[in-house]
């Protein structure tokens, strides 16, 4: 199999992650933050190590402001629930994933929030910033934005947008699902107030790990959306009023968290830029190759993503045919309907090949050949 669905979940993971997972099964078997026997303390210590690693990687100053969540969606829900005020505007882009859009639609209904969308200019960063500024009115309580589109890999000028938010005193929430572990994100330098990230994508953890990273000045603005055991202050009716336990009701996903930590070590050893370059260079070969095939429509796409359709073959059918040829791709709307509207693929969806650092140019050439073959088949 040639795996090209890394935007959904990276695969394979570095071998060190598998080794760490195998080891962790046995030595970190206890529930962290509940008991105080030796294994429980050791397990909790391993979890704390990952908080520190995330802190360092994303330019956060305090490990306790790293909150573990089951995924990015959960983290975004917590952040938006805490920051979106009634009868205010929330600014976002048309490239967002449903992990942003659906919580916003809910806030629109329940808090009368007004969602103001802006459209990026794929070729001109300044025009994207201008488009954002045009959408930012006087009544905005929160800006939420992806660092990188999960559909076409477009990277938003986060730092510039963060700077505007900072000047205007507007909360800036960033969806780092397609950025964390792929390229440098620094909460301080990029003026990010809250960063929501997954463990199972660029950070090479296994599924069911994510994190909510909260800047110091936003610590007191947070509130829980789920209530339950925290292992501490058991006589209180409320959750603890400090991080991270305030937002970590219930047992943590210890093993996914620990694998995320091992993934971070791998990235630090090999260099984040080098790993991303590997993914992007194979993707570029694929983009060019597919672009040369008559009857294949390659949409505007960047970085490690290649988005395309094969003329006269429905995208899911084409992806299934390519699956039969050994390719793992994702077809459809990729949970980002408005991005497809902008690209012109809203009705039919598209096929996405998302490259990872372990893919090679050979994989890109193989996909180009396979697409060329199915294009000539009669359905």
């Amino acid at each position: 199999m040639i795996y090209l669905d890394n935007a959904a979940c990276t695969y394979p993971k570095p071998k060190e992650v598998y080794e760490r997972l195998k080891q962790a099964f046995f030595i970190y078997g206890a529930n962290p933050g509940r008991s105080c026997h030796a294994m429980a303390v050791k397990t909790d210590g391993a979890v704390f190590d990952v908080r520190e690693k995330l802190c360092k990687m994303f330019g956060l100053s305090r490990a306790e402001n790293v909150v573990f969540t089951p995924n990015t969606t959960y983290a975004l829900n917590v952040a938006l629930n805490a920051l979106a005020k009634e009868n205010t505007d929330i600014v976002t882009s048309v490239m967002e994933h449903n992990s942003v859009l659906r919580p916003l639609y809910k806030l629109q209904k329940e808090r009368n929030c007004n969602i103001r969308f802006f459209t990026p200019d794929f070729e001109d960063k300044n025009k994207t910033v201008q488009s954002f500024e045009n959408a930012l009115g006087e009544n905005c309580s929160c800006v939420v934005l992806t660092v990188c589109s999960n559909v076409n890999g477009y990277r938003f000028p986060i730092r510039e947008i963060g700077e505007i938010c900072k000047k205007r005193g507007v909360a800036f929430v960033v969806d780092g699902a397609q950025g964390a572990g792929y390229f440098d994100i620094n909460m301080q330098k990029d003026n990010i107030d809250i960063l929501c990230i997954p463990g199972h994508k660029g950070l090479f953890g296994i599924c069911a790990s994510g994190s909510l990273l909260i800047s110091d000045s936003f610590e007191k603005k947070m509130s829980p959306i789920v209530y339950g055991g925290s292992g501490i202050m058991s006589k209180r009716h409320d959750m603890p009023d400090f991080l991270p336990e305030m937002l970590e009701a219930g047992t943590l996903a210890t093993l996914p968290v620990i694998t995320m930590g091992e993934g971070i070590d791998y990235i630090n050893r090999h260099g984040i830029d080098r790993l991303y370059y590997n993914a992007c260079s194979s993707a570029e070969i694929c983009r060019q190759g597919l672009g040369n095939i008559t009857g294949v429509n390659v949409y505007s796409c960047f970085g490690s993503m290649v988005v395309f359709n094969v003329q006269n073959i429905q995208c899911d059918t084409a992806a299934a045919m390519l699956s039969d040829s050994g390719f793992a791709l994702r077809s459809g709307l990729h949970c980002a309907p408005l991005a497809h509207k902008l690209l012109g693929s809203y009705e039919q969806g598209s096929i996405r090949a998302s490259f990872g650092c372990f893919n090679t140019p050979k994989d890109a050439h193989a996909l180009v050949r396979a697409v060329s073959r199915i294009k000539n088949l009669k359905i």
Binding site: G33, G45, F242
Partner: protein
């Protein structure tokens, strides 16, 4: 237990533990049920607890004075 410093949470207990380990101050993480319910903290050995509280506070460890058992 005048050598117990309540940090309130397991996360702060580990943060405290990292700071104390860096300074070679003997300690261990413990859990204690006090008036607030369950809470974590560190027991300090061969080092003045008041001095440890100062070090930990400066390092950003949340110390629950109320939880300190004297």
């Amino acid at each position: 237990m005048d050598n117990f410093i309540s940090t309130g949470s397991q996360t702060y207990a580990h943060k405290a533990s990292r700071v104390l380990s860096d300074l070679n101050i003997k300690h261990r993480i413990v859990k204690h049920t006090d008036t607030k319910g369950c809470g974590y903290g560190v027991e300090i050995y061969d080092f003045p607890p008041s001095k440890a509280v100062e070090i930990l506070s400066n390092a950003g460890v949340k110390i629950l004075e109320e939880g300190k058992i004297t």
